[in-house]
C-alpha cells in the first residue's frame, strides 16, 4: 500500500485525484487545501509520497516549491511530486540538486493522461524521477550553434536521451521503445561518450546530468 498526502487549493482537482488514486490502490492519508499544516500532517501520517501544487494560497506564487524543499530537508527519503500550471527548467534542476527520494515535476494537465500519470506517480513513489515532457522537449530542441555535439547523435540515441532526461530507468526505456535492456545500455554508453557526460548509474543523478548538459 502506498500512502499519499495531497495538497492543492482546487477542491475539484483534489477530489478527482483522491478518487483516481484510491481507485488505483493508493491510500490517501490526507488532502489539504494549502501548505499550512502540510509538514505536521506528513509528520503525523508518514506517507510514501506527497503530491502538491506549486501555486497555492496565500500568495499563489511558489508556496508548493518552498514546502517541497522543507519536506526534502526534514524527510529526505519522502517522494515528492509537484504539479504546476507552468514548467520551468530552473525548478527541476533546483529540486534534483537536493538529493533525496523520488522526485517528480509535471504540468497539471498531465493528470488527464491517466495511465501515464499513474505510471509517473508510481515511479516517483518508488524513488524514481519524473520530469515533464515539455521540459525535456524544450531542453532537447533549444537552438544550438551548428556542429554541436548533439548533432552527432542518431535519431534513436536522441530518443533515448529524451527518455533519460524524463527520468526513465534503463528497463523503463527498454519497455517503452520495445528494445532489449542490453541494447539500451549500449546506446546510453554511446550517448555519454559522444556528449562527454560522466556515466551516472543513479537515475536521479543521471537526469540532473543530462538536463544540466542540455541547458548549456
Amino acid at each position: 500500500m502506498t500512502g499519499v498526502v495531497l495538497a492543492d487549493d482546487s477542491v475539484l482537482l483534489r477530489a478527482g485525484l483522491e478518487r483516481l488514486l484510491a481507485a488505483e490502490g493508493f491510500t490517501v492519508l490526507a488532502s489539504l487545501p494549502d501548505t499550512g499544516v502540510l509538514l505536521s500532517t506528513v509528520e503525523a501520517t508518514r506517507p510514501d509520497i506527497v503530491v502538491l501544487d506549486i501555486r497555492m494560497p496565500p500568495a499563489y506564487a511558489d508556496e508548493g516549491l518552498r514546502a517541497a524543499q522543507a519536506l526534502r530537508r526534514d524527510h529526505p527519503t519522502l517522494a515528492i511530486l509537484l504539479l504546476s500550471q507552468y514548467v520551468e527548467t530552473r525548478d527541476v534542476l533546483a529540486l534534483l540538486r537536493q538529493r533525496g527520494g523520488g522526485i517528480g515535476y509535471l504540468l497539471k494537465d498531465r493528470i488527464t493522461d491517466i495511465d501515464r500519470f499513474l505510471d509517473d506517480v508510481r515511479r516517483v513513489a518508488a524513488g524514481g524521477t519524473a520530469v515533464d515532457p515539455l521540459v525535456v522537449a524544450r531542453a532537447l530542441d533549444r537552438p544550438r550553434p551548428p556542429g554541436h555535439d548533439l548533432d552527432a547523435l542518431s535519431d534513436r540515441e536522441r530518443e533515448i536521451l529524451g527518455r533519460m532526461a524524463a527520468g526513465h530507468s534503463n528497463a523503463g526505456i527498454a519497455a517503452l521503445l520495445f528494445l532489449g535492456e542490453r541494447t539500451v545500455e549500449a546506446h546510453i554508453r554511446s550517448i555519454f561518450a559522444k556528449l562527454g557526460i560522466p556515466a551516472e548509474r543513479d537515475v536521479n543523478r543521471r537526469v540532473l546530468a543530462v538536463l544540466s548538459y542540455l541547458r548549456t
Binding site: I54, R55, A61, D62, L65, Q85, Y86, E88, T89, R90, D91, L107, D109, T112, D113, R138, A139, R142, P143, R144, P145
Partner: protein, 544 residues
C-alpha cells in the same frame, strides 16, 4: 576721477579771475571788459562739461568739454600776459580744435570705437605739433603758425568735411539723430568765425561778439548730442512692457525696439541647426548690425540684432538683454513642458489602447479557441453517453479537452508572467531564452534584486525584442545582458538579424517604450539595415 565738481568749478573761476586780473593789470579796466564774453564762453564749456559728466559718467563728452573750457580760459590768460606768443588763436587751433574733433568722433557711443576713429583722433592731436615742429626742424618756410594755418586750413577743413559727411551718410538713423546737434553747432561756429574774420577790421567789438556767439554753440551742441544719444523711455517702462508680451514674437521685438530706440532691432532665435536667425522672417540678421546674445542660464536662448550705436547706453542694453532673455527662456521652458505633456498624453492614450487591444485579443483567443473546443468536447462526450457508448467519441472528446487545456495555459501565461514572481528577472529572462526558436545567451551582472515593476518592464522588453528577432529579423543568435549602471539597470538585447526595426505606430516596440517611459526610463533602438538590432532599456532604480 576723484576731483569733485566744486573743485573743478573753483579752478575754472580762479582761471577766469586770473585772466581778468591780468587784463586789468596790463590794459586797464576797458581791456578787461572786452575779455568778459571770452571768459563766459570758457566757463560755459566747463559748466556744461561738469553737468554732462555727472549725468552721463560713461561718456567722455563731459571731460572733453571741461578740458576745452580750461584751454579756452588758459588762452585768455596767455593772451593778456604774453600777447605775442598767443597771437592768432594759437592754443585754440592747436588744442581746442583737436578736442572738438575728438568730441565729434565719440558721438554717439561716448568713447572712441574702432581703429579708424582712434587714428583720426590721434592725428588731430598730433597734426599741429608735427607740422610746426617738422617745418622748424627742417628749416622749411613758412614756419609760423598763422602762415601754416592759412596754407593747410582749406585742405584739412575739406578733408574733415568729407570725412564727416561720408560718416553721416553711412550712419544709422540713431547715429544721425544724435550727431545732428553737435554737427549743427560746429557749422554755426565755423560760420560765426568766418563772420568774425570779415568784421575784424571794421567792427572789432562785433567781431569778438560773433566769435564768442559761435563758440557758445559748441558746448550746447555737445549737450544736445549727448541727450539725443540716450534712448528715451525708462527701464521700468521696458520691464512693464516686456512683462506683457508673453508669447508674440512681433510684440517682443517691438518692445525691445522701443526700449532701445532702435527701430531696426530684431529678435534672433536659434533655428534647427542652432544658427541664430530672425525670429519672425527666419532670415539672417542684417549686415552691420551688432549682436547681443541672450542667455537662459548658461544656454544661448537667442540674441538681439541692433544698431551698434545702441551700445551708447550700456545700462539700457543690459536691461533689455536681461528682460528679453527672461521672456525667451520662459517661452522655451513652456514649450518644452508642453511637448513633454503631449508625449505623456500620447503615451497614456497608447497604454490604454494597448490594454484594450490586449483584452480583445484574449477574448478572441478564449472565444475562438478554448470555448469552441470545450463545446466540441461536451458535444462528443454527451453523444458518447447517450448512444451506444462509442469509445471513439469519448476519445475525441478527451482529446478536445486536452487541446483546450493547453491553449488555456498559453493564454493565461501571457497575461501574468508568474515566472517573474517565482524566479525573479534573471529566471524570467532565462525562461524566455529557453522558449525561443533562436539561440539566446543571457549575461547577468546585476548586483541586487530588481524592484517588481522594473522587473516586469524589463521582462516585456526582452520578450518583445526576442519575439521581433525571431519573427522579423531572421536572426541566428540573440544576446541579452542585464547590468547595473549607477543608479539604474541597463538591459541590452542584441541580435544579428536584418535590422530595420523601428518604432512603428501600433507596433509592439512603441508599447514597450511606453512601459519603459512610464517607469521613468529610456528605450533606445539601433537597427541599421543588415547590421542587426540593439535595443537598450535604462530603468532608473530611484523612480521605482
Amino acid at each position: 576721477m576723484a576731483i569733485g565738481r566744486a573743485a573743478v568749478r573753483s579752478a575754472a573761476l580762479l582761471l577766469a579771475a586770473a585772466a581778468t586780473t591780468a587784463a586789468v593789470c596790463v590794459r586797464g579796466a576797458p581791456g578787461a571788459a572786452d575779455l568778459m564774453p571770452f571768459l563766459g564762453v570758457g566757463l560755459l564749456h566747463v559748466e556744461v562739461g561738469l553737468r554732462l559728466r555727472s549725468r552721463r559718467p560713461e561718456s567722455r563728452m563731459g571731460l572733453l568739454m571741461i578740458i576745452a573750457g580750461g584751454i579756452w580760459l588758459a588762452d585768455e590768460i596767455g593772451r593778456q600776459l604774453t600777447p605775442g606768443r598767443f597771437a592768432d588763436n594759437m592754443l585754440l587751433s592747436v588744442v581746442y580744435g583737436p578736442i572738438m574733433l575728438h568730441c565729434a568722433l565719440i558721438i554717439p557711443v561716448g568713447r572712441l570705437t574702432g581703429t579708424l576713429d582712434r587714428r583720426v583722433a590721434w592725428a588731430g592731436y598730433l597734426f599741429w605739433p608735427v607740422l610746426v615742429g617738422g617745418h622748424r626742424l627742417l628749416g622749411l618756410r613758412p614756419a609760423g603758425l598763422a602762415e601754416l594755418r592759412s596754407a593747410y586750413y582749406p585742405l584739412v577743413g575739406a578733408a574733415l568735411v568729407v570725412f564727416f559727411v561720408v560718416r553721416y551718410h553711412l550712419a544709422s538713423p540713431l547715429y544721425r539723430r544724435s550727431f545732428t546737434p553737435f554737427w549743427t553747432a560746429m557749422v554755426a561756429n565755423t560760420v560765426m568765425t568766418a563772420v568774425a574774420g570779415v568784421l575784424f577790421d571794421a567792427e572789432p567789438t562785433w567781431s569778438q561778439l560773433a566769435l564768442c556767439a559761435g563758440a557758445v554753440a559748441v558746448p550746447l551742441g555737445a549737450a544736445g548730442s549727448l541727450a539725443r544719444s540716450r534712448p528715451p523711455g525708462t527701464t521700468l517702462a521696458l520691464v512693464a512692457e516686456l512683462g506683457r508680451t508673453e508669447t508674440d514674437r512681433a510684440a517682443l521685438r517691438a518692445s525691445a525696439a522701443r526700449a532701445l530706440s532702435d527701430p531696426t532691432a530684431r529678435i534672433l532665435l536659434p533655428d534647427a541647426a542652432g544658427i541664430l536667425v530672425d525670429a519672425e522672417t527666419g532670415a539672417a540678421p542684417a549686415a552691420g548690425s551688432a549682436r547681443t546674445v541672450l542667455y537662459g542660464g548658461s544656454r544661448v536662448v537667442g540674441a538681439i540684432a541692433h544698431d551698434p550705436a545702441v551700445a551708447a547706453s550700456p545700462d539700457v542694453l543690459a536691461a533689455v538683454q536681461r528682460m528679453v532673455a527672461l521672456v525667451l527662456a520662459n517661452q522655451l521652458l513652456l514649450a518644452e513642458v508642453e511637448a513633454q505633456l503631449r508625449d505623456v498624453r500620447d503615451s497614456r492614450r497608447r497604454i490604454v489602447e494597448a490594454g484594450d487591444a490586449e483584452r480583445r485579443r484574449v477574448e478572441r483567443n478564449v472565444h475562438d479557441g478554448v470555448q469552441q473546443r470545450l463545446i466540441a468536447a461536451s458535444l462528443l462526450l454527451h453523444r458518447g453517453q447517450r448512444g451506444t457508448g462509442d469509445p471513439a467519441l469519448v476519445r475525441q472528446g478527451a482529446a478536445e479537452l486536452d487541446t483546450a487545456i493547453g491553449e488555456l495555459r498559453e493564454i493565461v501565461r501571457g497575461l501574468n508572467p508568474s515566472v517573474l514572481a517565482q524566479h525573479g528577472l534573471l529566471g524570467a529572462v532565462e525562461s524566455i531564452a529557453e522558449r525561443s526558436a533562436v539561440a539566446v545567451t543571457v549575461e547577468d551582472t546585476l548586483e541586487r534584486e530588481v524592484p517588481a515593476d522594473l522587473a516586469v518592464t524589463a521582462y516585456y522588453v526582452t520578450l518583445e525584442a526576442v519575439a521581433n528577432a525571431e519573427k522579423h529579423a531572421a536572426a541566428s543568435v540573440i544576446s541579452v545582458r542585464l547590468a547595473n549602471t549607477g543608479s539604474a539597470i541597463r538591459l541590452t538585447v542584441r541580435d544579428d538579424g536584418a535590422g530595420r526595426a523601428g518604432f512603428v505606430a501600433g507596433g509592439g516596440l512603441i508599447g514597450v517604450r511606453d512601459r519603459v517611459e512610464a517607469c521613468g526610463g529610456t528605450l533606445d533602438l539601433c537597427s541599421p539595415p543588415g547590421s542587426g538590432t540593439t535595443l537598450t532599456a535604462v530603468l532608473p532604480l530611484a523612480a521605482a
